[in-house]
Symmetry: C2
Subunit: 199 residues, 2 copies
Amino acid sequence: MTQQVEFWFEFASTYSYPAAMRVEAMARAAGVGLVWRPFLLGPIFGAQGWNDSPFNIYPAKGRYMWRDMARICDAQGLVLKEPLRFPQNGLKAARIAMLATDEGWAGDFVRGVYLANFAGQKDISDEAVLRDLLHALGKDAPDVMTRSNDPANKDRLKVQTQTAIGKGIFGAPSFTVGEELFWGNDRLEQALDWAGKSA
Amino acid sequence: MTQQVEFWFEFASTYSYPAAMRVEAMARAAGVGLVWRPFLLGPIFGAQGWNDSPFNIYPAKGRYMWRDMARICDAQGLVLKEPLRFPQNGLKAARIAMLATDEGWAGDFVRGVYLANFAGQKDISDEAVLRDLLHALGKDAPDVMTRSNDPANKDRLKVQTQTAIGKGIFGAPSFTVGEELFWGNDRLEQALDWAGKSA
């Protein structure tokens, strides 16, 4: 049986940032396979009656989150600068991440988007920002942008979000090992342990 | 400077159970003082527009929580049986916990209430259940019950809940070290580290 963890992330999600920055190295160290699973929180939050991040809807929770994130990023040696707008729209980046996953360059692209959002205070919904990231990875940016906007690719992201819902996912980051669900950056170690034991 | 962590808990709160069962031994091992801080989530949730546990309002989150709790309790060697009703009303128990904190028997009482709720499937709003717990601790149960219902004691619990809100607390369990807030059972170790470093 393959030992494998699926990493479910949304580019707007704060706690997905420290998770995304360490998941690949930690999975490799644990000998566990990693599958990148971009998805969208918008439809999931919308179904719960939220039209904004719960960190904005519930201010005490939001204030705590930023302080908690600062401690986490500090411990992990990550720069954290509060985005100029929160949450950002990660739709275009997620569509590109779908392609990157197929083509084996998801890790570098995903980390680049998170750094742009949470360390670089860049607008990740801006195609110029995404093109710059693609160039930096040696990709043909216009070609990738065009393919990411193909209706079939857009649909695949929608299907992946439905798959997330079907697995019981309600927030990001989440990790799945088979049917077992783990929610939150601070469950990464546990998910990798679970994958190791399930092998 | 005193190294001290304040443990903010609500008897209805699931994740407060594994935290309450280990906080005293872990604080002692870390050489960190512990202050028990019972408070009520009802007024805090009510102010957010919730008239029920978010784990009931958001079913996917609730399903995940019970599975996550099962894994946590399993790892910690704790029995977990889903309460017959969730959440339970912990008001009377919290009033007693205010007295127990003053009189130095909070640890045993608090653990007893959590075990009754989450391992024993007992109704912790039932005075007979609370009296049994008090008897088991060698207390004069009728006397404690009477004193817990003194208007001044009731008010102290309300004030403590307002103090929690003032510290930015929005859920349970929470830990504070001075002005620093940590939320969730999985932040206990970090809170103790913080207290140790702040000493």
